[in-house]
């Protein structure tokens, strides 16, 4: 890739940030960040979750205002008061959560807020607009039906609409926030081709990621952020993944410890011919059968949106199965009844921490007994035993090393890592037989990730059958004994974690057949 990079020394700077500082209540999100990107380059912003990448990009797009610091675009100092100001100087952003109006057509979304092209006129000529959008898509190889409504599109297609929006506005600077999280490795490669093409036209592409191999694959230069500070800018051709990783984390990474061989017990969880519908009513889980033994970690890999969330929800009863059964220790769970799964001691770490795993404005104590408030330990008939509940919460805080002033603090005030400890602690205290862990380390910092992974291993050592659902392939490879790959709701294949390669799994994730 680096041979296609323009001569960066002579290139004109497109974006220059100096000493950008942004505070949120209780958080210093950006701490005197310096950052510069030139015309015609793909510039990666690399950093862990919470390193301040999103905050910086939101400042660049006028969504947030920096508390301190200077911003220059194409050599001119600017002060953005609103997103419109950033759009006016040619900055567009593709957010992680797409900014699309679901009931609108593709064409309507593309021209929304535009005021220099066909959107300029007061009257909207939908035919002409649709034609323009279709042409534009064809020119950049982003084929899409401009009359389709957003909610009818796949996630990958929706991302193309976002990029079309930027192209339509003739954006000089395009910022993409973790764009590959929703793509297969193959789709990601296609995206990279588009991004390189855009850079070749003299645009500046700012690519936000925490994945090293992507940065190495697509970027010319990379700026590393750590804990809100800019650590340095390097040319990709002159650095290595290892060096970047060290910069990103702030220390050398230890090689992942090889998982201890587990002693497998009996089958604790068996899923037989499971079908379930997604939120839009289309089948999302298709004929999935799998078994997890006591003491085993089975990894479920796949690109986001291929039925992983629905599978976890169906097993735990949060979603009704349209067909098939789930057995725990040989006993069939009641379909669509989370209580049945709880009684069968199925622990569940849901991927959506703040709105599913906890009731976030309730106290830690309330969340500790979220599933066990009905037990005799915690209630006396219909009356709650508040003192016993408080004691239980204090015990969990101590055992799982949760950093908090006390059990009455609202859960949302905890950091992601501490919150996840509360969730894991609660699930472990229920003496589970089966643990369904969905994206258990998403959004956590390195220290928290390590302890969460340790807890998962401990669970397996304690003879719990663990089903680990994660989009992070490295995590699945490190932890799991067996890996099952989901593609479009079906099991695309199963591999032994010890022998599998990333390429092999990547192919399965894209719907190909294992060799």
């Amino acid at each position: 890739m680096s041979q296609s990079a323009p001569s960066l020394v002579s290139a004109r700077p497109a974006v220059a940030c100096r000493g950008i500082t942004k505070r949120f209540p209780g958080v210093l999100a950006n701490d005197e960040v310096d950052f510069e990107a030139v015309e015609g380059e793909v510039h990666a912003l690399l950093g862990e979750n919470g390193a301040g990448k999103s905050t910086l990009s939101n400042i660049l797009t006028g969504l947030y205002r920096a508390d301190e610091g200077e911003l220059e675009i194409h050599g001119r100092p600017v002060a953005f008061h609103a997103p419109r100001d950033a759009l006016d100087v040619g900055i567009c952003m593709v957010h992680q959560h797409f900014r699309l109006v679901e009931p609108f057509t593709v064409a309507e979304n593309v021209i929304l807020g535009d005021h220099r092209d066909v959107g300029r006129s007061f009257r909207i000529d939908s035919r002409a607009i649709e034609r323009r959008v279709t042409e534009l898509g064809q020119r950049y190889g982003l084929a899409i039906d401009s009359r389709a409504r957003i909610w009818q599109l796949s996630v990958g297609e929706q991302q193309r609409v976002e990029i079309l929006k930027a192209l339509f506005r003739e954006a000089r600077i395009l910022i993409l926030d973790e764009p590959t999280a929703v793509l297969t490795p193959q789709e990601a490669t296609e995206l990279f081709v588009t991004l390189r093409a855009m850079a070749a036209e003299g645009r500046t592409v700012i690519f936000i990621s925490h994945k090293l191999h992507e940065v190495m694959a697509v970027a010319d230069r990379v700026t590393v952020l750590r804990r809100g500070r800019s650590i340095g800018t390097l040319s990709v051709s002159e650095t290595s993944s290892q060096a970047l990783a060290a910069l990103m984390v702030g220390r050398e990474l230890e090689g992942s410890s090889a998982p201890k061989p587990h002693k497998l017990g009996d089958v604790v969880l068996s899923v037989e011919g499971l079908w379930a519908e997604g939120d839009r009513g289309a089948p999302a889980v298709k004929d999935v059968s799998l078994a997890v033994h006591a003491g085993e970690i089975v990894g479920i890999a796949g690109v986001a949106g291929n039925g992983q969330r629905e599978l976890a929800e169906t097993i735990t009863g949060m979603r009704r199965a349209t067909e098939g059964v789930v057995r725990v220790d040989g006993v069939v769970l009641r379909n669509g009844d989370p209580r049945s799964a709880i009684h069968a001691r199925v622990a569940h770490i849901p991927e959506d921490r703040l709105s599913t795993a906890v009731a976030s404005s309730l106290s830690i104590a309330s969340n500790v007994v979220l599933k066990s408030y009905r037990d005799a330990d915690h209630s006396w008939g219909p009356i709650l035993r508040l003192r016993a509940i408080g004691q239980r919460a204090r015990r969990l805080i101590e055992q799982f090393d949760v950093h908090t002033p006390g059990p009455q603090v609202p859960a949302r005030q905890l950091s992601g890592g501490n919150l996840q400890k509360v969730v894991i602690g609660r699930e472990f205290m229920g003496m589970p037989r089966v643990l369904i862990a969905a994206a258990p380390t998403r959004g956590l910092d390195v220290g928290a990730i390590e302890s969460v992974q340790m807890y998962l291993r401990d669970a397996a050592d304690m003879n719990v059958g663990v089903l680990l659902i994660s989009e992070d392939l490295d995590e699945v490879l490190t932890l799991a004994d067996r890996i099952v790959v989901l593609y479009e709701g079906r099991i695309a294949g199963e591999v032994d974690a010890a022998q599998a390669t990333v390429e092999e799994i990547g192919l399965l994730m894209a719907g190909g057949q294992a060799s």
Binding site: P25, E70, V78, D85, G317, S355, S360, P382, I383
Partner: protein
Amino acid sequence: MRLRIERRLNQPGWLAVAVPLGSVAFAFFAIAVVLLATGHNPAHTFAKLVRSAFFDSGALSATLVSATPLAFTGLAAAAAFRMNLFNIGGEGQLYFGVAGAVAIALVLGKGAPTAVAIAAMCVAGAVAGAAWAAIPGVLRAFAKTNEIITSLMLNYVAALVLNYLIFDSHSYWRDTTSPSAAVFPQGQAIPDTAMWPFATIGGIAGGIALPLGIGIAVLVATALWGLYKHTRFGFELQVIADSPRAARYAGMRTRRKILAVMCLSGAIAGLGGAAQVGNFDHLLDPRSLQQQLFGYSGIVVAALARYNPFAVVVIAFLLGGLKNAGFALQGADFPSGLVGVMQGIFLFSVLGGEILNRYRITLSRAGQGTHVEPAG
């Protein structure tokens, strides 16, 4: 300089006192401006207002009359709103409570002892209110229909039902015998034995007549507080209100709880109807009920009390005082509409002041970057 609005992570204790006080102070200031603009002396009016609400002879008793129904509808709204169930139907549920209570009182007739009649009226009022609230409740729980609009629409249907009972039919509720009823249709009065008592407390300004209804309202407030704070049911409601997904995750039966809360809310409003008819009206009077807007005012009372049951009773008392003072002040130089305006300003101020509880607003210097407008 620029304004920054940030969400507060935690609310310091002093805010809970300072914000309402500040809002009320602002309201008095704004009302003073309005009074000045309309040619009234604010100091004089305020003094008269406070006197006729709380200190004149018989004022406290009259204030309690106005406050009792507001306490019930306020509690009804608080019970539901706390759970993010926006039951706007307190109005109609109260109407049904009135109809239910009157019906049972008429059925029991003079024969029943007062205690029995009161108990029966409470049950009938609560059941009728709960039944009417069950319609939006079922629709919300099982068809996911937005309860705001359905409960609102049903208020008008309930009003029309009452109109029908009194004006367009020879129903059980209508007085068909007395001479005055022949001129203008009116409801049949409940027997004396079914009228609710007042407890008289001597002392200030010749004694206060404390209606039984306000006592029941305080009991209901206490029960609600205990329910939310100390029971499994209350715990489940808190979780469902905060995050329905978390509730489902924890194996709670969300739909049943939604229906239960709507019915509970309706029952409290219906109980308010029973109290209104038992303590004060003594007959089914659709016109008067529809003019009072007890249900809607109750929602505002609940909002001002931030859905705390005890605060609801206090706010209902204060608003009742304002309403009662309005009747007292009413006259040529103080038109009735001005009371509504003053109430409105009061409500707007407290409502607007809420933002200070949830957000921190600071003035800060803008970034040091040179202020050059972006190139177009």
